[in-house]
Symmetry: C2
Subunit: 494 residues, 2 copies
């Protein structure tokens, strides 16, 4: 208990003397110096002993009485209150009996390896998911936030689980304009980033033993969320055009399929219209949900972004997942679900139960940016910036890497895949760690295959290159260094 007393004596404030008396008596009661039922020294005695006023002592007594350490009857001196239980922690036991075990969910979460965090980031890091921080609309965001903070003060209490109505209305109009979505504002549930959207889908749509289909290779967090429910994964291969819909599982009673049609993660294919229709037809046959993760659909180069799959869904089977992590910043944790009507109520209630609602101020701030047009101007500006970086990356690869090196998935998004036909998948890690050794972070494709190297084989070695957070110079230098690394690596191969 010493820690507590010292913890207590750390406390500042005007009541130092009272605090001292309080701590002293509590410690003596706890360690049995003052046994249960015994009389406590009178306020007079203690006041004299510690040369403090009797009022100070009385105030300490009151605290101890309030906390149940002391009891007193009218006109009597205080006695140490309590029961035999008082002795329980005398000489506290060290970390006792085995810790109670965790739930099955917890054990599944612990069993799946979290995405590796490779220590300090290298000077030039082609990390996927990082964005250009200078692109954050600092001034616009600050102005909007501050004005919402003031205007909005009367609304600082609990809000709707589905999110701020005004924000959902603004977002709804934007999604129709920018992504072709066909929905109403009340089909939107604002969530704490796309990660929460996927977790809610997993909890509300999957039971242990159920089957779900997803892209292979695919987004590890989505896979982990779905598998953490105890559901069974059915991997569907992807090619340069995204999900190979002819390989969708029939007769396994899959409850849902997870897809990234605008820009397949990680390989970058854009799902063609024919496959989109086949996917919708499959979902109807299987009576399954389609989770469309549109994680970077706003960043398509050359043509305007392709309308979301949701816009073709005439049956209410597509759950659309959107995020502001790419266009603004991942740390804002702002995302949203666009739900089929029959799912709205369940998701609202689950959101209420899991974390009540998303912070309101950020929703209002973003609504203001969207309404003023600042958000769309920002996205256009950022898209141009990322396009420059993308073209620099492609040019650098052509300039520095062997002729057989190919870039895939560059039509959209903030990353590409670099295919290296003169290397095997087994070489990816070696190349990546050699490059990291020279200060360049590149990321093997293999870990994104759920079934390691078994699927989609034979294939060349592949590296994921995210370029959003790097400068043009960093991109050029990074690829140059990667090239020399690979030259050394192939030398080792001979």
């Amino acid at each position: 208990m010493g820690q507590i007393v010292s913890g207590a004596s750390n406390r500042k404030g005007p009541n130092g003397a009272r605090q001292h008396i309080y701590d002293l008596l509590r410690a003596q009661i706890r360690d049995g110096t003052l046994p249960v039922g015994s009389r406590v020294p009178s306020t007079r005695t203690l006041a004299a002993e510690h040369s403090v006023s009797r009022t100070t002592v009385t105030s300490a007594f009151e605290q101890l009485i309030a906390e149940g350490y002391l009891e007193t009857a009218a006109g009597q001196v205080a006695r140490v209150a309590g029961s035999p239980a008082f002795q329980v922690t005398k000489g506290a036991a060290p970390m006792g009996s085995r810790p109670p075990s965790l739930s099955n969910y917890a054990q599944r979460v612990m069993a799946t390896h979290p995405p590796g965090s490779p220590g300090d980031p290298p000077p030039i890091d082609f990390l996927y998911g990082a964005v250009e921080l200078r692109n954050f609309p600092l001034t616009a965001w600050r102005r909007a936030y501050v004005s919402e903070l003031v205007r909005h003060q009367p609304h600082l209490n609990y809000a709707l689980p589905e999110g701020d109505l005004h924000f959902r209305q603004t977002l709804h109009a934007y999604l129709r304009r920018a992504r072709g979505l066909t929905c109403d504002a009340d089909q939107i549930v604002v969530v704490h980033g796309a990660t929460q959207a996927l977790d809610l889908c997993a909890r509300l749509l999957l039971d242990p033993g159920d089957a779900f289909a997803m892209e292979e290779p695919g987004y590890v967090t989505a896979r982990r969320s779905f598998e953490a429910t105890g559901a069974r994964r059915l991997s569907v291969p992807v090619d340069a055009n995204g999900l190979v819909t002819t390989k969708l599982p029939e007769g396994h009673n899959a409850r849902l399929v997870y897809v990234t049609p605008s820009h397949q993660f990680p390989l970058g294919g854009v799902l063609p219209i024919g496959r989109r229709l086949e996917l919708l037809a499959w979902a109807k046959r299987q009576d399954a949900w389609i989770i469309e993760d549109d994680y970077d659909g706003e960043f398509r180069y050359g043509q305007r972004p392709i309308d979301a799959l949701q816009s073709m869904d005439s049956e209410g089977r597509v759950i659309y997942v959107g995020t502001f992590s790419k266009a603004l910043s991942p740390q804002l944790r702002l995302g949203y679900l666009v739900l089929p009507r029959q799912l709205v109520s369940a998701f609202r209630q689950a959101k209420r139960l899991t974390d009540h609602h998303a912070p309101v101020l950020e929703q209002r701030t973003l609504a203001a940016l969207i309404e003023s047009g600042a958000y769309e101007r920002h996205v256009r500006r950022v898209r141009r910036d990322y396009d420059r970086k993308r073209r620099t990356l492609i040019a650098s690869v052509a300039q520095y890497l062997p002729a057989d090196a190919q870039i895939g998935g560059d039509a959209a998004g903030l990353h590409v895949v670099l295919w290296l036909p003169s290397f095997q998948p087994e070489d990816e890690r070696r190349i990546a760690s050699a490059a990291r050794h020279r200060g360049v972070g590149v990321y093997p494709v293999s870990p994104l295959f759920a079934d390691a190297l078994n699927h989609f084989h034979p294939r060349p070695a592949g590296l994921i290159l995210g370029y959003a957070s790097l400068s043009l110079e960093q991109i050029q230098n990074g690829i140059r260094i990667l090239a020399s690394t690979m030259a050394a690596a192939s030398a080792n191969l001979d």
Copy 2:
């Protein structure tokens, strides 16, 4: 598909003409006017027809090719691409086959009734959980947020699941000072409000069929979170001193117990030291976790706040749940868990998987307020304000209500219970709705009993009165109106 085309034609931007051609062709392909394999009119023809440049038409073609509607070989005219799947959505089917069913979790969530939302709030609303909005430290928050936004810009990417290290260190020092907690910063996991803390406990510690113990009456959201896992509730009665620890279930293999020792919700008892020790001893015997929800522990009147139960835990069994919803605002959605060491890793991984991490800017802002001392000054100021309101409430009850009316749980927190011995629990709803009719919101105790009126019976009627968000005048008027309502009600009883 008409909706989509109109959705598309809503789009603004420089590419109106290209957009028009694109929408037209896509619609004709989708409705079969241009069958699969057929030639598309030449760019020349279309340019002439629509009096636009051929470049415009070509650009629309490129988009359609990119999306897989058209295909073209070198030197050939474009043809409509695709497969029989194209016909699938022709004349889209109306809302088709039965919606796939939801998970067991979802069905349990849907089965439990959400806390009733009684429409528009009455003019004088004794709603528990609402706080005084004028108390929000607007200027301090704005200054800190803006300076963090600028300083912090280099850290706008993904952050640690357990929360910002600097915030956790600041919070750790504060919790030792203010609540006597004995922990390190790495035992803290920052969450999206106390609601998420409880949901994470439910998911990580309970399986279907497990047993959990909780206060009866108790916090409905906690009960719903635990029951949503499929676990079995064991109700433990509370009295004026909180949880009746002698009634804790033995031999039911309870995995955890949920308690609010600083200020029992809703009845307001402060758990005495003896019961705290008995509770810890029970948890050791049962090998169970204790979830200590310290939802308003900072607001104790008269004496300084009682140290948290966690400060007496020598065995690492107490999971401490804290929130800033009462001291600042519920809409910030900032809360935290202080975990026994053996749970830290599971909670971090689960947080990562459920929503990655809490927003960083708000954590940094709050850290700045705590470091500067502004937060503790704020809490002291707010405590004085709420104490004034509390005393006004007590005085008004003495002045206006019958002598037998008693107030309970007024030693701490932002609400009290009003006991009305001349009424039965069955009368609570009638009184509440009559009061609401007169513009005063008061809240029956009965719905907070999991087993309705069976437990803790016979007892008088009880009403929960939250006073934090009301002015002194509103409190006086509210009680006056409630008194006349009750007079009328008792008249009806005769």
